[in-house]
Structures are given as structure tokens and as C-alpha cells.
Amino acid sequence: MPRKVVHSVLCWLGLSPLLIVVLFPYATMLSTALKQKDEIFQFETKWLPDTLYFGNFVELFVDRGFGRAIGNSLYISIGATLVSLLVALPAAYALSRLRIPGQSAFRTYLLVTQMISPIVLIIGLFRLFAYLGMINDLNALVFAHSAFYMAFAVWMLQSYFDTIPKELEEAAWMDGASRLKSFWRVFLPLCLPGIAVTSLFTFVNSWNEYAISLTILREGSLQTAPVKIAFLTGTLYETEWNIIMAATLIATVPVAIVFASIQSYLIRGLSLGGVK
């Protein structure tokens, strides 16, 4: 066998335990979600269901209103991602390109805000949104999430912006581009990988967030997907694993879609060849 094949076989063998750890929950989810209720509690567990049963999904969307929860989650996650990018992009650009007094102190401050657990702030946030009349308002979550993940976004974007050579913008200015135009036509296209990673993180964090969503959104119809899934477990006399697993499976889909659509931007070295 050629050395290359041996090499890759060895690599796969080494990686396979990890692969099992990653894939096992998914396999369980998929297998359980496609089984009927009775089949799950059989003494001999089988990986493959007797028949492919999609009734769990139907029940989830028709009877339990899970579509609504997914919709709420999407609204909040996309909103939070957009709002935090909208603020973080100019903030990171300013931190990276302009000389501002107290810059490093500000960066440290951003980092410090990340050390406080959101749980600690929940009571304060609840009172704040109650005062603003925003309890049971999805926009409250959009703002709360974007505020939580903004510091991270600024930090991450600034690190990326620092890697873009300043000469590229200067060249654009010499070519006659205003600051805004050079930002839009030269700087931003080069930052797409950084922006993609940052928005991915923000989206996933917001999508998975539980505690604040649970606190601020009191009404069942406004629940987000993670909260809804939690409510599926504890509200009845029995734990309906088939429904729960169908719900968790569905909940992973948007993240997978976002990741797949963004990953083409994640290629490194987009700015290669511009300078030097």
C-alpha cells in the first residue's frame, strides 16, 4: 500500500473514537425520533426502527406548536446577530484603525464583561425589561442577546481587522475612495471570513441561550426552541423521548444550515496576494 493510504487509514483510526463521541448523540436522536412511542421502551434496544415513523414530527408541529418556537428562535437569533454586527463592525473598525485614548482599557473592559455569567444579571434584566414594558416581547431578547455577544464580536472582529494591511485602504483613498467607500468596497470584502465566523458564533450562542429566554418570555406561544424542548420533558406524567428527540433534531437543523451556508467564507487566505 502506498504510504499516503497507510497514513490516512492510521489517521482515521486515531480519530474514530472522537467521531463516535460526536456522532453518538446524533444517532440516538435520529433513531429515537423515527420510532413509535412503544418501540422506545422495549427491553432490547434496537438502533434501527421497525418502520420509519414520522408521526413524532407531525405531532410536534401540529399539536405542540414547535414550529412557532423555531420561528421565535430564528427571529431572535437572526435579529441578535444583525444588531450585534451592526454595532460591532464600526466599533471594531474604530478600535483597529483609529487612535483613541483609553483604547486598551476599553478592550479590557470588554473582556471583563464576558466574565460575568448572564444568570447573575437575570433579575436586573427582568426588572429593566419590565420597566420598559418589554416582558413577553421577542425584541427584548434580540437586544439582550446582541448586548451579551457584542463584546465578543467586537473583540473577534478587531483581531481580524488588525490583520488587514492598512496600505490597502490607503491605496483606495489614493484612488479617490472616501473612507466609507473604501470600507465598503475594499475593507469589508476582505473581512468576510472574520465576519462570517463572528456571526456564526453569535447566532449559535443566541440560538442555544436558555435562561434569559425562559425569564423574559413568559407566554407559551413566545417560547424559544430550547425552552420549548425543556418544557416537553417536565410537563407531563411521562417523558416522551420520541417527541423530545424529534424536537432536538429539528433544533439542530438551522444551525447546520447557517454553518453550511457560511462555511465557504471561512476559507483562509482571502487577503493573500494583495501585499508583498
Binding site: 491605496a171 484612488d175 470584502p189
Partner: protein, 362 residues
């Protein structure tokens, strides 16, 4: 095309002053080279002309209008960066046409201009490529092309050849010179390479520690450097220097003693008795013989430290009376050259400088 006028320009970063009152008049169509060691402020001066650095004090005029507060976008100058600074996400054609598309020129005009520039720069076959798929020399040409298509008031070059290998650099140097002759554009070119300065410039500006040392044509600077710094900076290998004290001979001619031998100094040297002077003499102007006497004049005893053969010339690194000297000769010297060597200095090729203020005295 246009003229640029710089009056008493200064630049400070906080308390550190990097440029001290620069005065310079650049004529229309002139090729000016700013040259000096790294940290002398030449790039800063160029960036101030471009508008990328603020002007701390003094005035900058382009075509008679004051430009101090005008943004780089509105100065209508084109710049070629050391790093080329090509837009990595745009093709060669898009890179070159970017300034025109910003100006809102119609597509047909952009295509025509880019096409013409590409023809001049031999880039026609690469117009659709991305910068990352080009070689160093091609990238350099694209950067030039981006400047050409705009027909700017002046071209600014910030060490554009320093990232290329030696052979390509010589080639591109000639191309830049030809381009300037064809376009006749006012150009300001920054380099630390004195060969580039000598070959490209109509006039050279030698900068040192934020001050202008001398402005002149390449040959003026070579033949008559006004300070010891310029003498040492222009010319390769570097000029040889030795210190001495002026003596007055019997026939009232000024003499300087070196290595136990008295040499006549140039007649026009403004020196007086006991004045400390520094004598500079180019490696090409020294003569090495195996006998102490030549044409009735004495030579200084020297010993060989090293012999460098370049093919055309031989560089002899000598120890002459304790001072390191370089002699460049067309004669081939071999390692078994005689130990006893004598270096002869000719009066007419001497450059005399005041040791105290390093200014030229002849």
C-alpha cells in the same frame, strides 16, 4: 501634470520631530528621488505629500494651491506602495480600473484605459487573474498600472522595487525610467538604494535625520557632494575618509599628512593652518602600486585585508595607516598580491570636508 512646492514642512509625533523644515521645489515633469538611510523621514515626507500623514507645520502646494488640509482623495496623486497594496479580491483589470469606476466613468472608458495601460505594462494576458496568481514583478506592474490609468497630477513611489530580486529590480528600474520618459509625469520616488536614485532621478534629494543634506543632479551629487554624509552615501563602494590637520607648505600650498606622507590639498580648498579636516576620496580614484614612488610623488604604505573579485572590477580592502580603505581597480589582483603596497592619492580627486561641521571646503 503639475509642480509641487514644499515650504518649511515639519512633522512631529508628540515631542519627537522627524522632519525639520523641508524646502523643495519640484518642477512639472521632473523625476525627483528622495534617498537616505532608513528612518531619515523620506517615506514620511512622501506620505505627507500624498495626504496619508498630517502636516505638523509648513505648507504644501500642488499646482499653486495649498494642500495641507486636503484629503488624499482630492489631491489627485497616484501612489505605488512598497507592498503594492493590490486589492486581493479584485482581478487585475478591476484593480487597475478601480479609481475610474469610483469616478463613475462609463465601462467603455474604463476598459479602454485599462487596456492601454495593460499594453504598456505587458499585462494584457493577465487582466482576469487575481493578484495572488501573479509573480512579484507582475504585481509590481499592476500597481504601476493602477497609477497610470488615472492620469494623476503626479506619481508617488514608495520603495516600489525593494521586494523584488536583484535582476528583476534592474529590469523594472529601466521600465520605470522608460515609462517616465513616455508619460512625462511628475514623479517623486522614495528609495534607500543609491543606485536606483542615481539611475532614475533628474534630481536627487538626500535626506538625513529629517533634514535635506543636498539637492542636485545625480552627477552633481557624485562629483561634488556638499557634505561628508552625501559623499559617503552616494557612490559604491563607499568613499574612503581620513582625518588630518592642515599644514602650509613652503610654497604656501595647503598640505595634509596621512600615513607619514604629506599630500597637497586642492588649491580651491578654503582651509587655514591647523584646521582639522576630513579628506574623502572615491575608491575608483585611488591608485595602488608596488613601488613607493609614482610620477615623483610618494604613496602611503598599505596592507591587504581582503580581495573581492566582481568580474569587472576588483575591490581591495586595505589597511592604510590604520584606516580601512577600499580601492576599486579594473586590474585583476590575485590573492598572492605583494604584501608591500602603496596607495597614491591625487590632489584633484580629493574631497575636503570640515571635520567640525562636515561641510565641503573645496
Amino acid at each position: 501634470m503639475s509642480s509641487i512646492s514644499i515650504n518649511n514642512l515639519t512633522k512631529s509625533y508628540g515631542n519627537v520631530q522627524v522632519l525639520h523644515g523641508i524646502d523643495l521645489e519640484i518642477q512639472d515633469r521632473e523625476f525627483i528621488v528622495l534617498v537616505g538611510p532608513s528612518g531619515c523621514g523620506k517615506s514620511t515626507l512622501l506620505r505627507m505629500i500624498a495626504g496619508l500623514e498630517n502636516i505638523s507645520d509648513g505648507d504644501l502646494y500642488i499646482d499653486g494651491s495649498r494642500m495641507n488640509k486636503v484629503s488624499p482623495q482630492k489631491r489627485d496623486l497616484a501612489m505605488v506602495f512598497q507592498s503594492y497594496a493590490l486589492y486581493p479580491h479584485m482581478s487585475v483589470a478591476e484593480n487597475m480600473g478601480f479609481s475610474l469606476s469610483l469616478r463613475g466613468e462609463p465601462k467603455s472608458v474604463i476598459e479602454k484605459e485599462v487596456g492601454e495601460a495593460a499594453k504598456v505594462l505587458h499585462l494584457e494576458d493577465y487582466l482576469e487573474r487575481l493578484p495572488k496568481n501573479l509573480s512579484g514583478g507582475q504585481r509590481q506592474r499592476v500597481a504601476m498600472g493602477r497609477a497610470i490609468v488615472r492620469h494623476p497630477k503626479a506619481f508617488l513611489f514608495d520603495e516600489p522595487l525593494s521586494n523584488l530580486d536583484a535582476k528583476l529590480r534592474t529590469h523594472m528600474r529601466a521600465e520605470i525610467k522608460q515609462l517616465h520618459q513616455a508619460l512625462g509625469a511628475t514623479s517623486i520616488y522614495v528609495t534607500h538604494d543609491q543606485i536606483e536614485a542615481m539611475t532614475l532621478a533628474d534630481r536627487i534629494v538626500v535626506l538625513n535625520a529629517g533634514r535635506i543634506e543636498q539637492v542636485g543632479t545625480p552627477l552633481e551629487l557624485f562629483d561634488k557632494p556638499m557634505t561628508k554624509f552625501v559623499a559617503g552615501f552616494i557612490g559604491a563602494p563607499t568613499m574612503n575618509f581620513f582625518d588630518g590637520v592642515v599644514e602650509i607648505g613652503e610654497d604656501q600650498t595647503p598640505l595634509v599628512r596621512f600615513g607619514g606622507v604629506s599630500f597637497r590639498m586642492p588649491q580651491n580648498a578654503r582651509v587655514e593652518r591647523n584646521m582639522p579636516v576630513t579628506i574623502g576620496i572615491r575608491p575608483q580614484h585611488l591608485c595602488v602600486t608596488s613601488s613607493a614612488e609614482r610620477n615623483g610623488s610618494q604613496g602611503v604604505r598599505a596592507s591587504i585585508e581582503l580581495i573581492e573579485q566582481t568580474g569587472c572590477e576588483t575591490n581591495l580592502l586595505l589597511d592604510v595607516a590604520g584606516a580601512p580603505f577600499i580601492v576599486q581597480t579594473k586590474n585583476r589582483f590575485h590573492a598572492h598580491a605583494p604584501d608591500k603596497l602603496y596607495v597614491h592619492l591625487d590632489t584633484e580627486t580629493m574631497h575636503v570636508f570640515d571635520t567640525a561641521n562636515e561641510q565641503r571646503l573645496n
